[in-house]
């Protein structure tokens, strides 16, 4: 009621001002006619002229005042009407939004009723844990590590598909994943150390094998010397020389470093031993010939 009364009052005042402005026109025309007649009929024309000037100025000022009042009031009314229209527009927008919301709700309810599948809740994004395995650490393709990774992935999937998880829980799980990753890295380092140790052990085993082979060769060489001992002194001298040669040949065996070099040297030694055996047989033949010559 108050708003309507105020608007009515404003409207009335505007109409009143406009009416006054309209009434001003005939007044000005009548004043002009009077001034014209008085100037023409009067004998004191300068005085009449001065009076007419003053009146004209005042009339113009009055007219301008009325015009200003009417313009101001009209502008005020237009602004108020525009404000009212804007308010109505907002209200209509509100109603439209409500109606759209209602339509959306009815559509969703209809779809829900028509669905055959069960309702699956969807969780917000921050409840879904990121996959830190692929992002942070690169693993060696071993079965054990792969199995652990698969179990970890299944755990993360269960958590993501299960009940919603708060930020604190996600942070806790991320910290657990980090600790497990550290343990796995430490275990991989231990495995590498074990492999190195195994290599060292295998190297030592090879060394032992090589030493055994050398001992066998030396033991095999001894029966020849014992079996080949003759009864004469010359034979004993020759055998002593061959023994010394055997000792000389046998000494370099211990000074070699690598297995490959040892194999080559052993082959050379075999050749030298065969030559020495052949030389011993040759010596025997020469001795036999010398004996036959002495008998003759």
């Amino acid at each position: 009621m108050t708003f309507d009364e105020v608007s009515m009052e404003h409207g009335k005042s505007f109409i009143f001002a406009l009416q006054e402005l309209k009434n001003l026109r005939p007044q000005l025309y009548s004043a002009a006619d009077y001034c014209e007649k008085s100037y023409l009929n009067s004998d004191k024309k300068p005085m009449v002229l001065d009076n007419m000037k003053d009146y004209v100025v005042r009339a113009l000022v009055n007219a301008v005042d009325h015009l200003g009042t009417v313009a101001y009031k009209l502008s005020d009314i237009l602004e108020k009407q525009t404000f009212d229209v804007s308010t109505m527009d907002l209200k209509v927008s509100t109603l439209n939004q409500r109606l759209l919301t209602w339509h959306m709700y009815t559509d969703k309810e209809g779809l829900r009723q028509q669905q055959l599948l069960a309702f699956i809740p969807r969780h917000h994004k921050h409840y879904i844990l990121p996959n830190p395995v692929n992002k942070k650490v690169h693993f060696i393709p071993h079965r054990k590590i792969g199995a652990r990774q698969n179990s970890f992935q299944t755990r993360t999937r269960l958590h993501s598909s299960g009940t919603p998880i708060s930020k604190t829980l996600s942070w806790h799980l991320a910290s657990e994943t980090k600790s497990t990753l550290k343990k796995q890295t430490s275990r991989t380092s231990k495995n590498t150390k074990d492999s190195k140790f195994y290599k060292k052990i295998s190297g030592v085993f090879h060394l032992l094998d090589s030493e055994g082979s050398t001992r066998m060769k030396t033991s095999a060489a001894q029966p020849h010397l014992t079996n080949g001992v003759p009864t004469s002194g010359a034979a004993t001298q020759t055998m002593g020389a061959t023994g010394r040669d055997a000792l000389k040949h046998s000494k370099p065996l211990t000074t070699y470093g690598s297995f490959d070099d040892r194999n080559g040297r052993e082959a050379v030694q075999v050749h030298t031993r065969s030559k020495s055996v052949l030389s011993s047989f040759f010596v025997k033949q020469t001795a036999a010939k010398l004996k036959a010559g002495s008998v003759l």
């Binding site: 100025v57 113009l60 313009a71 237009l78 229209v85 804007s86 527009d89 109606l99």
Partner: protein, 85 residues
Amino acid sequence: MARAGGITNAVNVGIAVQADWENREFISHISLNVHRLFDFLVQFEATTKSKLASLNEKLDVLERRLELLEVQVGNASANPSLFAT
């Protein structure tokens, strides 16, 4: 005597010219102000017309929206089964 008459005549002419000059100045001043008043009125008319036109347009759009809403509400109210579900 002729000299005295000539002098007075000249003085009268000067006074008349001065009065005429003042009158002309007054007239030009009045006409200038009336012209300014006219310009103001023309500008005011233009602005008022544009405001009224925009207001009229807004009112038309508002009426159309209201009609659409009325139709939609009528359709919604015509199906009470949806509310029942």
